[in-house]
Amino acid sequence: MDVTIKNEGAVCFVTLNGRLDTTNVQRFNEDIIPVMESDAKEIELDCSGMSYTSSQGLRSFLTLQKRIESKGGKMVLKNMQPNVKQVFDITGFSNIFKII
């Protein structure tokens, strides 16, 4: 999973590309530390290039959102692929996250 982070004013844009699975979730958790620590009020994750996530990936998203919200920030997930969206739907995560 490639993670690109770009801060523009109060918004932090994060682009995700590739698979998020057991082989790379730890690396992903490290890659998103700057997002966790960001002072941005809005975090936008572009998921159009994310082709897969396991439950470990879902946990990473939940941890990230909890962290962002604890600082009064907001997080949105954009352009999710249907297969990935299905994983969020089954687990009820679609109701927890703002997905547009």
Binding site: T23, S54, S55, L58, V87, I90, T91, G92, I96
Partner: protein, 136 residues
């Protein structure tokens, strides 16, 4: 796909190799969404066995796979670790808010939802989890 099986030992850190073996030959043979679902179900089960089946983190995992004549993909995951039926675990409450949601417990829930049938047996001192999906 004729029945095939492979015994992995030791399994610590071998999740990727085990998952790759189970999925090999399936991609392109089944619908993309079906492949995605099987991939995820297999990953969740293999991850659980590798992480929790053996107290010292090492032991065997025997994987079997076949597509039956009537188009049912059957994957069997067997381990000789601590007796554990993952299907006994209560489903997570998916209606809870982010604050109330616990981190974890989603893997087997996903597996049950993504496959058509999942069942467990304890046979000769081994945990045996069978997953089936119609791929016809």
């Amino acid at each position: 796909m004729n029945p095939e099986s492979f015994r992995f030992c030791p399994i610590a850190g071998e999740q990727a190799r085990i998952i790759e073996w189970i999925l090999s030959g399936l991609e392109g043979k089944v619908d993309d969404n079906v492949f995605f679902n099987v991939n995820l179900a297999v990953e969740e089960v293999v991850e659980n066995v590798v992480s929790y089946a053996y107290e010292d983190g090492n032991g065997f995992l025997e994987a079997s796979k076949e597509i039956t004549g009537d188009g049912i993909l059957r994957i069997v995951i067997k381990d000789g670790g601590v007796k554990f039926n993952p299907l006994d675990k209560e489903d997570p409450d998916i209606t809870l808010s982010a604050e109330e949601r616990e981190i974890g417990g989603l893997g087997i829930f996903l597996c049950k939802n993504l496959m058509d049938k999942v069942y467990y047996n304890y046979e000769n001192g081994c945990n045996v989890l069978v997953m089936e999906k119609n791929v016809a």
